[in-house]
Amino acid sequence: MLFSDIILETSIALLANKVRSGLTMLGIVIGIGSVIAMIAVGQGAQKSVEDRIQSIGSNLLMIRPGFARSPGQTVSQGQGSSTSLTLEDAQAIESDVSFLSAVAPSVSGNYQVVSGGSNTRTSVTGTLPSYVTVRNIELESGSFFTDAHDTRRSKVAVIGPDVRDELFPDETDVAGKKIRINGIDFTVLGLTVSKGSSGMDSADDVVYVPLSTAAQYLTGSDALSMISVTVSDQSIMDQASADITELLLARHDIVDEDSADFRIMNQSDIVETASSVTETFTLLLGAVAGISLLVGGIGIMNMMLTTVTERTREIGLRKAIGAKRRDISRQFLSESVALTFLGGVVGVVLGWGAAALLTRFGGVATSVSGISVVLAFGVSAVIGIIFGYYPARRAARLNPIEALRYE
């Protein structure tokens, strides 16, 4: 039996009962479609987490003030409430710890930002130009402030795209514009490139000002909210972290590491945790979708068994005129594989469409990978073979005499 004969027989058989073939195929369409869409959602989440971490920089160590405790008391006032980190600490780290490529102290707070009739409440970060290196900040237009601005405590600012949208919705060039932060006039120097928002903490809804300007006009103190450090190589992150801990403990006259008044967060730890969470999420979504694929497969098997029973006489006739077991089983297997394969094609298209719609209207990040498409095709063909095998074997094993007599 030639391959083209099998194709012809299969199409005749499937077209003979269009509604039944269509409904059975629908099971596979929904199964494959949901696998593609769910994996796209999972991988989209994974990708956005990774992108966000990448945008911050994965060689990053973040040093934050620890818990403030009043002397003699054990009441914690929450992480970051301490005012233990200072600019001197940052300078000491920069000069004493080796293998650091950049150190950026920063202070941040939420302030009302006004321009003309528009205003917004946003996060204002006071920092040094090295922040650009540490946090991978790119400028859309204009320039970042310089060390000279910091020394002179210039009232200049760099704004994020979200702030631009709020304050200057119709402007593309914002350099030279005036904004008021906390009632003080600032001149805008530049606009950062959008990094995309990720939940509450957006890198786009932000205003950067020089550190000393922030200390004088906004916070009124020298305390830092964070020191960001980039290590020159990812392999020495732990060493750098230990060196900084040792230095800061010495500087703060603390003997016991457990009572340190600062905390160091390692970006790569966060990456690992985040990606293991999203991987589990992807796996879970995939498993749920996989169950619907299994149900679709059982639908195929059900239909194929019915078909074999209905066509018992035909099978008997085919065997009488010379079809071998192999010919019969191939014919029925190819019917089930054709159903699952066509269902797989439609399912991939629908799943892809569903993922695109979710992104467009639901704001969910999705990512359809080539691997998941190839996998879906493979799985659908395998399902056709697995669930078609038993019915095909049953057909092939029919005794021609009994099959011909079957009523």
Binding site: I12, I321, D327
Partner: protein, 232 residues
């Protein structure tokens, strides 16, 4: 061509053993037109299944063209069937919703005949049974009973078998159509030299054959030439 020696078939149903056929011994020469006649339950269908290589005997020897075929495997039997045997059934057994030509081509498909040769062979077979050419592309379910049986005969002839079995070929037809079908068999036997074995329970139909083997309760009770061959 066919040589049967003491062929028997015993069906086991639990502890019960039923002998459908016991000790059938006869032979059929090339080009004969033989009717195997008997009432239902006589074992004539069992005999046809064995002669047509759809089933194996439980005892005895069956030589087809001098070769012992009593112990072949299922697929080996299928191979011999493709080469040497054609079947015509009482209920036609055409593939539904399939064109006449495609139905006739089916044995060639399983016989591994290349696509280019199939059409010509199918057309020859349809012409041999005088099936009107304008209906070749009709679907099988659009045909009358007589037409369906002609297509079935053409299908049986398409791979040019030396042996054609006809199992109650007129059973589902009215008398007039039945006569036409039997005449077609006669002509194929006389003009093309096909060996035809006709299975029937009707004496009137058996009279188209040259030789009548009567079987009853699994045993051959008579085997004689037909002196009054029907020729109407």
């Amino acid at each position: 061509m066919i040589e049967c020696r003491n062929i028997s078939k015993i069906y086991c149903n639990g502890d019960n053993e039923t002998a459908a056929l016991s000790g059938a011994t006869f032979s059929v020469r090339d080009g004969e037109f033989v009717a195997i006649m008997g009432p239902s339950g006589s074992g004539k269908s069992t005999l046809m299944n064995i002669l047509g290589l759809l089933d194996l005997p439980t005892g005895g020897t069956y030589l087809l063209d001098g070769k012992d075929v009593s112990h072949l495997s299922e697929d080996e039997l299928a191979n011999v069937r493709i080469q040497k045997i054609g079947f015509v059934f009482q209920s036609f057994n055409l593939l539904p919703r399939t064109s006449v030509l495609r139905n006739v081509t089916l044995p060639l498909v399983y016989g591994g005949v290349p696509r280019s040769d199939r059409q010509a062979k199918a057309e020859d077979a349809l012409r041999a049974v005088e099936f009107p050419e304008e209906r070749w592309e009709h679907l099988s379910n659009q045909l009358s009973g007589g037409q369906m049986q002609r297509v079935a005969i053409a299908r049986a002839l398409v791979n040019n078998p030396s042996l054609v079995f006809a199992d109650e070929p007129t059973g589902n037809l009215d008398t007039k159509t039945g006569v036409l079908v039997m005449k077609a068999f006669r002509r194929l036997n006389r003009e093309k030299g096909h060996t035809i074995i006709l299975i029937t329970h009707e004496a009137e139909i058996a009279r188209y054959a040259d030789r009548i083997i009567t079987i009853r309760d699994g045993e051959i009770v008579s085997d004689m030439p037909n002196r009054e061959v029907r020729n109407d």
